[in-house]
Amino acid sequence: MYGGGNSFEAMKATALTDEDPVKLAEFEARIDRGEKIEPSDWMPQLYRKQLIRMIEQHAHSEIIGALPEGTWITRAPGFKRKLALMAKVQDEVGHAQLLYSAAETLGKSREDMIADLINGKSKYSNIFNYPAFTWADSCFISWLVDAGAIVNQIANSKGSYGPYCRALERICAEESFHLKYGHHCVIHLATGTKVQREMMQAAFNRWWVPMMHFFGPSDKISVHSEILMRWKVKMSSNDECRQQFLDMYVPKIWELGLTVPDDKLRKDPETGQWEFTEPDWEEFKRVINGDGPCNKERLAVRRVAEERGAWVRQALLAPKTKYVAPLA
């Protein structure tokens, strides 16, 4: 699960002038032909750096994203929900594994990435810093946070880096289960008893702003993002993803008689664009910089999982073990 709002590194003016022009031209021609870049191909430093950062953030978002829904894993009501939620949270861990592997092909080891996450040096999707107070919160996440992530991931799966595309193809296939499962849960609550309905509406009230934040602030078109678009690293703007999400899901929310806490939300029939109240971007910044309701807990859990698993990994590590980055 991952939204937009990637934090890309600012580009230095020299970033491209240092590159071999012949190789750079070949690289760009390959992308223009619609062919994917594979790990051992020559690539500009900036491309490598930005991809590592983006895929790493995506991977962190999956492993941290397992936690808010995991909050309800032992309490899911009934066999069907119990099994499905176990499988869904497991999938998120699986997605992290796939994405870390894709990032590793670019030269950063998984353990380095995990250390950077735990030490707070690396970001993950902001939305997972919010708590899942009730079962209905977990249903909201399964349906709509995953829906938002799919919008983003489908765009990214058409990007230029082979290993990332392969991982995303697998991930998107699995996410279709998440989305259906989540929608199924929300439908049952929304059309259920009064208590269930209220629980679901309360979750919408809590999660709507983080959901709008999920796609990131409006992007300003800069030279920098223009290059990343040309290289097919950045595949769509934050606004495009947000609009697409609203277009696909707001009608589905409304048909269940649920509301979202934004009375300005409407689709302009002329432009076809959704109008909405700008969410509080100061809050977004505050949370992403560590001051959200669950930032500390999320990292503490990852840290403890790492620390308590250390003896297992140490015991298994053969002295002659040689790490080789995955191939594809």
Binding site: G70, I73, T74, F79
Partner: protein
Amino acid sequence: MNTEALKDLLYKIADDQLILGHRNSEWTGFGPLLEEDIAFSSMAQDKVGQSWQIYKLLEELGESEPDMVAFMRNADQFHNCQLVELPNGEYDFSLIRHFLFDMAEQIRFTHLASSSYEPLSLLAKKIKGEIKYHTMHAKIWMKQLGSATEESVSRLQNSLEEAMPYALGIFEPSKFEAELIKEDIFRGEEVIKEEWIEQISAILKETSLKMPDLNSITPVYGGRYGKHTEHLQPLLDEMSEVFKMDPTADW
């Protein structure tokens, strides 16, 4: 067919699987490495899924529907052995429990595949592959960690000794042993236990772990008759927290 005896057998098997599956799912997201996190979660799902199937067999025999049976009973109505309800502890304890329990499970279901109660023998055949993976997983981990570092060996040895009295409780005889054996529904706990001791001893021999002296251990019994540790009721309260908000609602 002695339905009362059959139900007692089905309940204890299903309860074991549900409770252990539930416990093992507590690891999802916190495992010692990503790949193992995924594998352990799959096995937890298999267990819960298997219990669901057995509760369905019970429903056919006139018991309530599976969700009600699983989410609405109190601890004293559960027939699982106490081994499965113990808290997860650290990974060493969870692995040892997985090894001890799943080895027994494989022997149990191998015998059940020839049960005279056909729905059960069919199910036993269907889940053979799942259980095969579970024991494959357990054996490989025992072999590797059980002869790795001083720390891993001593952790596993301690957990083994802690778990063993409870593990022997898996084989607590029910009051229907004779009937079940007579009607060829089940070979009886004694048979399973003998094979189990032989198999786990053989695996432990390949490691630096020592098989505890079973003659000096008093098995922890009671689970099969509804007597449990203080850990089961809180587990059930947690599991049914949402369901019990409205057991008649469609979740």
